[in-house]
């Protein structure tokens, strides 16, 4: 500011663009760096996925060979099946939990603020911490099963963590615990914005609470429900830390997920081409979720502006 004043006498001496250089730099450098890294990094990773790169990136063209190798690997197949199972069950269950909690909290109950904070606090904690803690709780020799045994019920079994078929559900449990609060927060905001007049009118017409929720309140929540589902799916697709800390993909490779396969291919097996192909596949899965959502949002907005 004092600079500008001091420069004023010689103002005409400097060309406009020189005078405004700091401003241009400040506007463009961060934005360009951000945009350029997003575009170039994506294109580069896509390109690598078509090359025979292994330990180091090399030029060359192998077509879709990396993709077919990844898709044919047991690791990826298990990861993909797990993603379907984990993604769908986690998203449905956490949205349902969040919705129920939001409806219950919306009944003018005491201590709502404290309860809300309790349901949301896991979101402030790293997945590494959450995963570690749940790995203790679910470890049959340490956690819940051990406790119940010590209490005298020795035939009790809760050993999903070491059970190949059930281990993926431990991740579902931990993920629900960690992020149902998020769904709750969004649903609660939605419930609070339901038109009070419509609710009152329905009450005057003699609608009971169940009918009210089924006919009026829940239908008005569906745009929020879609948002919740999409965001939770986005989280599910890129889940990495939680699994790393909770099961590390095990037992065996029973809880493998795409993000772990990418990491394994890139940094443990040094198969850069295949790792990049797996990363692009992850991106495609994500786009399969996000593109319809973006189209729907666009449609909604257009309808809103035209109405």
């Amino acid at each position: 500011m004092s600079n500008a004043a001091a420069m004023r006498p010689g103002r005409s001496a400097l060309p406009e663009w020189v005078r405004r250089l700091p401003e241009y730099l400040m506007i463009w450098v961060p934005l360009l760096l951000s945009a350029a890294h997003l575009i170039s990094f994506s294109l580069w990773t896509i390109w690598i996925s078509f090359t025979p790169s292994t330990l180091v990136p090399v030029t060359g063209w192998v077509g879709l060979r990396n993709y077919s190798a990844v898709a044919a690997s047991r690791n990826w197949q298990i990861a993909f099946d797990n993603l379907l199972l984990f993604g769908i069950s986690f998203v449905v269950l956490s949205a349902a939990t969040g919705l129920v909690l939001a409806i219950l909290l919306d009944q003018r109950i005491r201590g709502e603020n404290v309860l809300r904070s309790i349901f949301l606090y896991p979101l402030a904690v790293s997945f590494v911490v959450t995963g570690t803690v749940w790995s203790w709780l679910l470890n049959p020799g340490l956690g819940i099963q051990k406790l119940v045994h010590d209490l005298g019920w020795s035939s009790f079994r809760f050993d999903w963590l070491i059970d190949r078929d059930m281990a993926i559900w431990t991740i579902v449990i931990a993920a629900i615990w960690q992020s149902s609060g998020f769904a709750m927060a969004l649903f609660l905001a939605g419930l609070r914005s339901v038109d009070g007049d419509i609710v009152k009118a329905a009450q005057i017409d003699g609608a009971g609470p169940v009918r009210m929720y089924r006919r009026i309140i829940l239908p008005s929540l569906w745009p929020i429900t879609i948002t919740v589902i999409v965001i939770q799916l986005q989280f599910a697709i890129s889940t990495f830390d939680l699994v790393r800390a909770l099961t590390n993909g095990g037992p065996g490779i029973a809880t493998q997920l795409p993000a772990l396969v990418v990491y394994d291919l890139m940094f443990q097996r040094s198969l850069l081409g295949r790792g990049a192909a797996a990363a692009v596949l992850m991106l495609l899965i994500l786009l399969a979720v996000l593109l319809p959502y973006a189209a729907w949002r666009y449609h909604q907005r257009r309808r809103a502006t035209h109405a």
């Binding site: 500011m1 890294h37 990094f41 790792g275």
Partner: protein, 285 residues
């Protein structure tokens, strides 16, 4: 719906909500209790139990005693690493995001919508798409396995979020205000400093809390681009549980977990309202 139902329904509602709340608090309670039990005590029973006497020594051991890999300096150096990454990256990304958000929403320039659109794609692009390129970039500029490298990554990647947050906040500022200031001869920086920043504290708090929490809790980049003494605390925790797998030290590990989670938990307790606002602002992209 906000009508008071008859008593049994209300009792049922409280019962359910309190049960769920107990379930949500249970993991935290278990770790806190474990952090005060000796390793032997835990080994005899289960992870779930009441401390016989308070073993505060777990915290001392976790902070500066136990060994990760060959170094026995506790969790302290890794906490320091996390702080040295998180604090600068939070400040840089927030400030740059505020300027960028102001530029695209109020200052306006040719191509602003385009570049803003591209930058916000960063909210969706999986980290896995950027892992290899970052490896190469960091190696080429000599920042691989350094904290500065992580600061760079988190600053650039954080821009997508911070720009979005600030832009969505600034669009509500009347354009006339900016136009009038420009007619008075105020430039880009003067308007930012005199008009925008004084209006910004609410969004800056949201952004800082969001960035701090995310960078502190980040794991993938930490474990990929740093090793050994350079690791942030999330990566060190994983290394720790691998290192002690043979002789578990669950008391000390619990204390380490609590210490690692404390900064973001504290921020949540102090600024919960802003934390939630960030969550929902991020959701309504």
């Amino acid at each position: 719906m906000r009508e008071r139902g008859f008593a049994p329904t209300r009792i049922l509602i409280y019962l359910i909500v309190l049960l769920v709340a107990a379930a949500w608090l249970a993991p935290l309670a278990v770790v806190v209790l474990n952090s005060l039990r000796t390793n032997e005590e835990i080994a005899q029973g289960s992870m779930i139990g009441w401390p016989q006497h308070l073993a505060w020594s777990n915290y001392a051991a976790a902070w500066s005693g136990f060994c990760v890999a060959e170094t026995c300096a506790g969790i302290r150096p890794y906490m320091l690493n996390s702080a040295l990454v998180t604090i600068p990256a939070t400040i840089f990304s927030t400030l740059l995001g505020a300027v960028a958000g102001y530029a695209v929403s109020l200052w306006r320039f040719r191509g602003d919508n385009w570049i803003y659109g591209i930058v916000t794609l960063g909210l969706f692009l999986p980290q896995q798409m950027r892992l290899l390129p970052w490896t190469i970039v960091l190696r080429d500029i000599g920042l691989i396995n350094t904290l500065a490298g992580l600061v760079l990554i988190h600053t650039i990647q954080g821009l997508s979020f911070t720009t979005l947050f600030c832009r969505n906040y600034y669009v509500a500022i009347p354009h006339e205000l900016i136009r009038a200031a420009r007619i008075d001869g105020a430039g880009f920086f003067r308007i930012f400093w005199r008009i925008i920043l004084p209006l910004s504290p609410p969004i800056l708090i949201v952004t800082v809390i969001w960035q701090f929490t995310h960078i502190w809790n980040e794991f993938l980049y930490g474990v990929t681009f740093t090793s050994g003494q350079q690791q942030p605390v999330t990566a060190a925790l994983i290394a720790l549980s691998a290192a002690v797998a043979d002789i578990p030290q669950h008391g000390v590990q619990s204390a380490a977990v609590i210490i690692a989670a404390l900064p973001t938990l504290l921020i949540y307790v102090l600024g919960g309202r802003y934390f939630v606002r960030g969550l929902t602002a991020g959701a309504v992209k």
